[in-house]
């Protein structure tokens, strides 16, 4: 055994002993990314999460589809929160030609779904469709023509294979149905993949895995809450609802670190490589984590031999909603390339390090 291998085995043993059973986060992630749950319509993913929680656990949920459970009693009260909603669209109307139009928004580059399959999550089941390419996509444009109209969610329509509104409605489609890109998983190698909705189903999977591996005795006189909240992508609304009743001392938001580890990005900030461990998201667009708290996390990680990186990037997190109530927000992440795309990239080792870090914090946080 080489020195390097020996350290690796030791790290695994220490991590596993702190965390209990072997992590299943990766397998959970590969399932949960495929469950639909556009912001404001998280029912299916909320049921998925509730169905995977440890038996006998008293989970709560509200009318928005926030799900949470609390174990232990005493201080500090530590909240771990991941958001279950994903990016997507909502059916606005069906045209007389049987095409589906969606409401503005979506959160991903519309160009990446142009001429690509989508799924409409209709009342009677999923209906596949193709986002129509822009009109004249294959025609030569002369220089004196007006500039091309931008390709946006407002401008595109979805072709279903029917020719009339009545036929579209006969498929079960109605205004208000949600639409997501048809998801595929790209396996670069064992333990390295890219797909849609890693943001923030990886956070959901990490929390589920941690819940399944949590040893009650590690809570030790403190209050621990795990929450899977909704509508993060559209304005942190689920977290805001939770903040009305939950008053944590510390909140660890579990969400993507928007990494610049990708060919098109400047590496001047946010360059935390995929595959180099979990992340403490020190500064983002919604929160600045106090440095002493970062050091506490790093000390715990070091003790448990959990690989952790620290960096700053962009984007907000649900924990920021709890700041005004007195909580300290310490977002935890994995380095994620291509955030808000069909190809969000994630490494298994990073995800498992994140799960181990969550369990280590539960055990060691003071």
């Amino acid at each position: 055994m080489t020195k390097r291998t020996g350290i690796g085995v030791l790290a695994l043993l220490v991590s596993v002993s702190a965390a209990g059973a072997q992590s299943k986060a990766w397998d959970i992630l590969r399932e949960i990314v495929l469950v639909p749950g556009v912001s404001g319509h998280e029912g299916p993913v909320s049921y998925f999460i509730q169905g995977r929680l440890p038996a006998g656990l008293k989970a709560e949920h509200d009318g928005m589809n926030n799900v949470w459970f609390t174990v232990g009693a005493g201080h500090p009260h530590i909240l771990f929160v991941a958001h279950s909603d994903e990016l997507g669209w909502v059916v606005d109307k069906i045209t007389p030609e049987g095409r589906v139009r969606v409401k503005p928004g979506g959160g991903i580059l519309p160009q990446t779904v142009e001429a690509r399959p989508v799924l409409i999550h209709a009342g009677r089941g999923d209906v596949p469709g193709i986002v129509s390419p822009r009109p004249g996509y294959d025609e030569r444009r002369s220089e004196d023509e007006a500039p091309e109209t931008p390709f946006t969610a407002e401008s595109f329509d979805i072709y279903l294979g029917v020719a009339t509104e009545a036929e579209a409605r006969a498929l079960g489609i109605a205004e208000g149905d949600t639409v997501t890109a048809k998801k595929t998983i790209t396996d670069f190698a064992p333990g390295l993949m890219a797909t849609r909705a890693v943001d923030d189903r990886a956070g959901c999977a990490a929390l589920l895995d941690a819940a399944l591996r949590l040893k009650p005795e590690t809570v030790k006189g403190r209050t621990i809450t795990f929450a899977w909240d909704v509508q993060e992508e559209t304005g942190l609304f689920g977290a805001a609802e939770l903040a009305k009743t939950l008053k944590p001392d510390y909140v660890f938001a579990i969400d993507t670190f928007v990494s610049t580890d990708s060919p098109l990005e400047s590496k001047r900030f946010g360059f935390l490589p995929v595959g180099k461990g979990a992340v403490v998201r020190a500064i983002d667009s919604s929160n600045i984590t106090p440095k002493p708290e970062i050091l506490k996390v790093l000390a715990i990680a070091k003790k448990r031999l959990i690989p952790v990186q620290v960096g700053n990037s962009r984007g907000g997190n649900d924990g920021s909603v709890f700041l005004v109530g007195g909580a300290i927000d310490i977002p935890l992440s994995w380095p994620g390339s291509y955030a808000h795309s069909l190809i969000e990239k994630i490494d298994r080792g990073d995800l498992e390090a994140l799960t181990n870090l969550i369990l280590a914090i539960i055990s060691d946080w003071k």
Binding site: D138, Y159, G161, T186, T260, S262
Partner: protein
């Protein structure tokens, strides 16, 4: 392009008969099998091998160079050539960076200006000698996108900034996966089954047409056909011969030179569903002629369509690179085209009833007496 639909023989009532007669289930399964195989210009060998494997045992397959394969069906002296493409548009590895990402180029010019732009942020498959390697074409993260970068990296996306991430960290890593320069790069063959018996997927049109010819050989193998017929799946149909003026496709120019057909039927795809003047998806295959008016071949196909109860659309349009080499009197040529919605996008849409009608008409045409 000045397309003009002249006439449509819409015999919807006959469609049920066609579906049964053309062995719809078999055609579907053949089409699905071919759809799954990547094939770009210059890299047609995998699809050719798949077609060979699907042809009836005992059928002699002729290799005609560059990857083209053909089957000869006996009959009265001819020959008649039925020619379809083996290759679809795609990309290839043009370089491996020190960081282990891949750069891209095309083996042939794109079918339209937006062709490369569809790559942005998409999964791709690199077909290497060691097997398929999965990758993604990189895109900027939404959170980091400035208005300036949106212009250059999204709206202005081109092959100049198309990097394929295969999860490697160095050129050595990439090569260890089997990546070599010129490996073909295509979209994963994910088939979407839409309402109305329509399928969507990348390069679906070419694969569907190729399946139709496999189906025709299956149906006619061992039988006497109307006339000695070569059924060919041609490589390099997207590559144009050099020279002045209109440039013929290499694959079809070689086919003409090899078989010297008296009559050529080019089985191709055609953009459909774009409004007035364009073929209508679901309206049946499209008989395309350079010159309007009667001809023996046109008459034969009209008869084949009418007798088999299949709808047929007619279009007068300029020669395509595929049909051009055969426009040499006294030889005759027509193009029988499968209407494809969203042609040359990652989601080409084919109506199965069009495909079935195409097969039925071809088979009827090839039967003894069918080509009268």
């Amino acid at each position: 392009m000045a397309h003009r639909i002249i006439r449509t023989l819409g015999l919807a009532a006959g469609l049920a008969v066609i579906v049964a007669a053309a062995g719809g289930a078999d055609l579907k399964s053949v089409a699905k099998e071919l759809f799954a195989v990547p094939s770009t210009t210059g890299n047609e060998e995998m699809l050719a091998a798949k077609i060979r494997g699907l042809l009836p045992k005992g059928v002699a397959v002729e290799e005609a160079g560059l990857g083209t394969i053909a089957v000869k069906l006996g009959g009265a002296p001819g020959p008649t050539l039925i020619l379809a493409a083996l290759d679809g548009y795609g990309h290839m590895v043009s370089g491996i960076t020190p960081e282990g990402t891949l750069t891209l180029d095309r083996p042939v010019p794109p079918p339209h200006a937006r062709f490369d732009a569809f790559l942005l942020g998409q999964p791709v498959i690199i077909s290497t000698a060691k097997g398929p390697v999965q990758g993604v074409v990189s895109q900027p993260a939404m959170h980091l996108l400035t208005p300036e970068r949106r212009k250059t990296q999204v709206e202005g996306f081109s092959l100049d900034i198309a990097d394929v991430d295969i999860g490697a960290r160095s050129e050595k890593d990439a090569r260890a996966k089997g990546i070599e320069l010129l490996d073909p790069v295509t979209y994963p063959a994910v088939l979407t089954e839409l309402a109305g018996d329509q399928w969507a997927g990348p390069s679906l049109g070419v694969k569907a047409v190729a399946a139709c010819l496999v189906s025709a050989v299956e149906a006619l193998a061992g039988k006497t056909v109307g006339e000695e017929t070569v059924i060919a799946w041609s490589a390099q149909t997207k590559s144009a011969a050099r020279g002045r003026g209109v440039r013929p496709a290499i694959g079809s120019a070689r086919a003409r030179s090899r078989w010297q057909p008296k009559r050529a039927i080019v089985v191709d795809v055609i953009a459909a569903g774009k409004g007035d003047g364009f073929p209508f998806p679901g309206g049946g295959p499209v008989l395309v002629q350079f010159k309007s008016g009667p001809s023996d071949l046109r008459q034969a196909f009209e008869t084949a369509a009418a007798e088999s109860g299949a709808p047929l659309q007619f279009l007068t349009a300029p020669d395509t690179p595929l049909s051009l080499p055969f426009e040499v009197p006294p030889a005759e040529v027509v193009t029988l085209a499968l209407p494809v919605r969203f042609l040359n996008t990652p989601s080409e849409i084919v109506a199965l009833k069009d495909l079935q009608a195409l097969c039925e008409i071809l088979q009827h045409f090839l039967q003894p007496g069918g080509a009268k």
